[in-house]
Symmetry: D2
Subunit: 422 residues, 4 copies
Amino acid sequence: MSVGHEVAFSVKNSAAPSDTDSARAPGLVPRFDRQGYEADAVTARRNWVEEKSGCRLHHVAAFSLSSEEMRGNIENPIGAVQVPLGIAGPILIHGDYAKGAFYVPLATTEGALIRSYERGMVTLTRAGGVTTRMYGDENRVCPVFLFPGVAEAHEFTMRLNDDFPQIKAEAESTTHHGKLLRLECRPVGREVVVNFCYFTADAHGMNMIVKATERACRWILRHSNAHDFLIFSGLSSEKRASGALFAGGKGKTVVAGARIPAALLQRYLHITPDQLLDLWQHTVLGHIQAHAAGYNGHFANGLTALFIACGQDVANVVNSAVGITNFERFNNDEVYVSVTLPSLTVATVGGGTGLGTGRECLSMLGVAGSGGAPKLAEIAAGMLLAGEISMAAAIASGEFAQAHDRYGRNQPAGFDLSHNAS
Amino acid sequence: MSVGHEVAFSVKNSAAPSDTDSARAPGLVPRFDRQGYEADAVTARRNWVEEKSGCRLHHVAAFSLSSEEMRGNIENPIGAVQVPLGIAGPILIHGDYAKGAFYVPLATTEGALIRSYERGMVTLTRAGGVTTRMYGDENRVCPVFLFPGVAEAHEFTMRLNDDFPQIKAEAESTTHHGKLLRLECRPVGREVVVNFCYFTADAHGMNMIVKATERACRWILRHSNAHDFLIFSGLSSEKRASGALFAGGKGKTVVAGARIPAALLQRYLHITPDQLLDLWQHTVLGHIQAHAAGYNGHFANGLTALFIACGQDVANVVNSAVGITNFERFNNDEVYVSVTLPSLTVATVGGGTGLGTGRECLSMLGVAGSGGAPKLAEIAAGMLLAGEISMAAAIASGEFAQAHDRYGRNQPAGFDLSHNAS
Amino acid sequence: MSVGHEVAFSVKNSAAPSDTDSARAPGLVPRFDRQGYEADAVTARRNWVEEKSGCRLHHVAAFSLSSEEMRGNIENPIGAVQVPLGIAGPILIHGDYAKGAFYVPLATTEGALIRSYERGMVTLTRAGGVTTRMYGDENRVCPVFLFPGVAEAHEFTMRLNDDFPQIKAEAESTTHHGKLLRLECRPVGREVVVNFCYFTADAHGMNMIVKATERACRWILRHSNAHDFLIFSGLSSEKRASGALFAGGKGKTVVAGARIPAALLQRYLHITPDQLLDLWQHTVLGHIQAHAAGYNGHFANGLTALFIACGQDVANVVNSAVGITNFERFNNDEVYVSVTLPSLTVATVGGGTGLGTGRECLSMLGVAGSGGAPKLAEIAAGMLLAGEISMAAAIASGEFAQAHDRYGRNQPAGFDLSHNAS
Amino acid sequence: MSVGHEVAFSVKNSAAPSDTDSARAPGLVPRFDRQGYEADAVTARRNWVEEKSGCRLHHVAAFSLSSEEMRGNIENPIGAVQVPLGIAGPILIHGDYAKGAFYVPLATTEGALIRSYERGMVTLTRAGGVTTRMYGDENRVCPVFLFPGVAEAHEFTMRLNDDFPQIKAEAESTTHHGKLLRLECRPVGREVVVNFCYFTADAHGMNMIVKATERACRWILRHSNAHDFLIFSGLSSEKRASGALFAGGKGKTVVAGARIPAALLQRYLHITPDQLLDLWQHTVLGHIQAHAAGYNGHFANGLTALFIACGQDVANVVNSAVGITNFERFNNDEVYVSVTLPSLTVATVGGGTGLGTGRECLSMLGVAGSGGAPKLAEIAAGMLLAGEISMAAAIASGEFAQAHDRYGRNQPAGFDLSHNAS
């Protein structure tokens, strides 16, 4: 941090006479030229925090990322957080995009989580693997248009799609990657929410489609009876849990399923088909009583660990984890297990996907960059299915508390794959 | 990795003749003595991944945590993920636990997020600060007990609380920290879900209370007409979104509120009270249409960034983000803004809270270790409130797309606090 | 009831040796030739009930409907229930279908309900009337198709719409009135729910479209890789509350809105715009906390009373009542009030719409028979809006308890329209 | 209607010069002295409707109720609606309140409904009957208290229960029947919803407890820091569907269950246990996808028909129908079927329960008047269970469309009990 920058920052703050470090007017985080992404600016900022707080930030300082690379991903950087990274696998996947065995990087601090997913993966792999399929692949922005009354809102809705070609042209004029697929109107009183449904390729693309949508909305404002709009209505359920997510449209709709013979269930998961199916039924009832959004054991665990590892926008776990796990009898002596993820948000370009460890973890899965997102979605679905059967088995067999209590000190029978793998 | 370990691992795998690297039978992740937390075991495992995948894991390898410290937090470790860490503040909080100005560490790769939270924090601080209060502080496990018919389930429920002292004694015999507060029964058909409601102090304590509950359940099984139980029913909504979370019980119930004069709204957020209130109303309608669990702008963003920074169990964002943001008119020329978090899961002991950067970030806030969790909860609530007003203002003022589009290259007016702070 | 019938019935029951009137084997309801819709069969059946129960069914017997007309609407008839019928109005409606002032027949036993709706109607009428608009007009059946695995389910979904012309032809071969508009697939694991979306004109038409759908499903079964289907999946939310209803498709999507000047609010409803808007906001928060499906004051009250009066399928109130009430500021001194009903189920042909009082009530509104259903939908929406503002006002003004407590004895100020109408 | 009354009414209307029958200012429904419940007033009002509408209201006029008895149940009466009434049974119930075989009066115009319920009832009865149990029995009003800020709201909540004795005394001073059981606080921002939980004996008692609660709230306002309250917050979910209803408190929590041997399933319902269980699982998935409130086949049908017959407040079907149906394997060759109704609203005193046909139908079940409500709740639960198994079977066996298509003309095999009963 050069003196000049320091001065610039000081001047700004000193202009406010009351702007001291008192509780009444605590100071801003230090300002730097060009927002301070140079290594010494980051150091200076971190030093400032250390002084303020009286804490040594030894680990925060120990990052290998270039601080300049953080520009566009974070502001006021002081370093990086380290989250332990483990590996779970193999999981054999027969998808349209993911084909073969994968070892999945998962970042977590929850003991037993990786062992549990690993156990499910090995079970699925030994059973012949997981089949995955992707249905929809979209993202959306849902602005709301305002009208003087319900008649005008209705008239707008009836006519909007006549202008679709022009609206599409406006939206796509701002981006090379996003494609506007269609508009869906949802009236409420005298306003109309318009779902702008896009294909965004391998990017999550919220910034891209927000920008495209804003441009299109301005065009609509000039060419319709709408008197105003707000770029967000809350309907899209971005980073929120909702019933609307089941209809898809917020990310990728992906399904993973597998058959597992009873003998493998017993060998790896220590349960019978009946135990697994009973567990499903009992816990579905609990979800219904809770009026939960969806039914699953712990999608959030696997998704969070994968998202942190792979540089995803981790807050999207909230919408991505709304989904359904199903366990069914298959023939006499097998089960069919599946997960359905209606609104899975994953990306392989943009956001944190190009940064340091994120990029390395994506590469590990062979999904970094363009063309990778559908494959990542299929891997995510397969991985979650592994977690679902493993957790369900741990509950049904009574081994859950045991595994979580003892893990890390002496390996409990329930999660010890080495013996089973023989 | 010593040769001995290698052999041990090899033997286990070699016992399975088909266990080659073919797609049909891909190999297990390498096994090591004592699960392989020594530095060279971690290196060996990472090397194995590099070989398998053909990727160099340069950044994954660059961690400062001691790998031995990872034991109990992760399995099959290969290194650590780095997530950029920034600082947002100051936010002045008048809580029962958090008192004073805070600079909040947030780990994210979503550009503009920290600047947006910071802008809200400064606005709140300049407005005199945020008042926070904690209501409930509990965690729960909800096993389900099974009976031959509805009569037996009813009889069980009518009698269960007579045995509360013994059940409490059993549960608490497994832990020094968890306190069983009460039992709540929820029948469904011939089964009964029993909510075991605990106080877990500064730990999230799921492992603790699962163990305690399992012990108590075994006692109940011996002393009642129940013929079996499952440790989880799905009702608790741990790491899931549900309607049941609004009644609290899964973590801390915390509220944060503040008055903001119109002049400050205009200066920092570029909107009038009417614009803010209209935005609230329009977006509430969108949430209702989506049948969303709760109403808020982006709790998930702030919570995720805080949880990653502070070594929390990040998957708990899913239940924690179920909450309500409210903006109200106050007198003629002010607004009252608040957030309500019925089921916020934060901890300052256990899990990842003692590890490297997590511990440092908690220390930065003065909440590391015993006694810190309620304070952290209040800081989280205050921080989220800042994010809500800032995002709402960006939407209402039409600056949202602009800010997200340009951020990181040239600082947009909408989020430039330096000028405003003068 | 002829002796022959009596014998036939007796024989059937006597064939079961244990089939006495003891608690162990209580007898069937008496059987008659051709199901017993003749007047004397109904009398005999009622007499049997009177004997069994020891109750005199004086009022049940006092019906004017022809019992033969009940065939197809009820089984084992013993008479009719009488529900008090009142009239509320005038409500001036400016719809695409409903135009003019209406007096709405409402059947209820809840005191004050009609007075409350009437007061709202008069307020709306004096304010210039309600504008109504209809968006969608559909009904649906959602069978689920079963497959061996997720790959087959995916393949089915990708191809289904190629056969739409044949599927449509099959479905429509069973009905002159239902039109199959489109198919929408929703996968979950290895099964696929297919929404069969129909236009059913003025009938609710569930029986019609179930029959059509079943025929189409049998065709699909013969011409696809599906191995079975179930005619219902639960997704349609017929007679159930759900989030999916907000997207419409189960009946008519209708909106009603009106501007009300502050002076009229004060005169008829004794509140200011601010009071009304505050009430909205506070009660929205309560609905969010309850994780309610939608937000409204009491759609169920008005809908139930209208449905009973007009021979509708009253159980459809459950899906129809999922909707949204909105109150907004309009200019300086007015409010804009609206209701949105995404899935309103009303009919003017079929079911109970042709029977006695039902037909008379429909005629009273000018909607009996073909062409009436959209008009009835608009009247229903206008009527509900009246109920919403009246109830909201009663709560906001503190008159609610008062009105309900005293109503029927001495008319409370809050609901006395006579004085206001002068 | 005396001339004097006519004059009085005319005068009121004529005072408004514009108050003609034109569309701009349509006239009020005629006013009468003492609200016009005398027979000739009702006739005059009906005649006025006939004139206005040009319809003859022959059936509406044919009621046996005394019009004077309608006072307090309806306003502006013009007659009564007739709904066909049938009888379904026998259903053998082993409850704490309902003991023995019942024939249930159901009012409906939906063909096949009674036959379907009857078939389920006979199946359950032949299987040995239904066991029913009641858990909670409460009703609630949920006012919201307002405060200047979150600190004051918190302080209020912390202290409220200290005053419980005085609050209870105030509330109960207005009623002989309602008992205030407890208060539960639910904060949101700077407001606090207080659940007033009552026991209301055999009345639904909303008017009673609203009045009691209002009195108690006025006391609280004088003795706390609250600055205002609204009598309703929306949280209670009265006549609305919500997740909160699963925790009970809005009416009676009732469960009904039964074992059914495979042979009886086959004989009466034409399905195997596996078919029934598969149907359950497939349709649960559909409900989850719809984000439905609860899971059941058609609670709304049976409840609506029972409520209309028995003089219940039919709009309460909306909250009562939120519940859960469960079908489970039992031993090798049986199923266990159950329904759970967390918030069933039934009454045997008050409202329409004392009027004509309502009172007769209640008497038929032996539940009229004091002491009857718990028994009615158990009968309702048993009846619903019958409807659930019958409908599920019709879907699973493929007979559904067939039964609904042909019913009333020639009796389909699927619902023909006569043959089966032999």
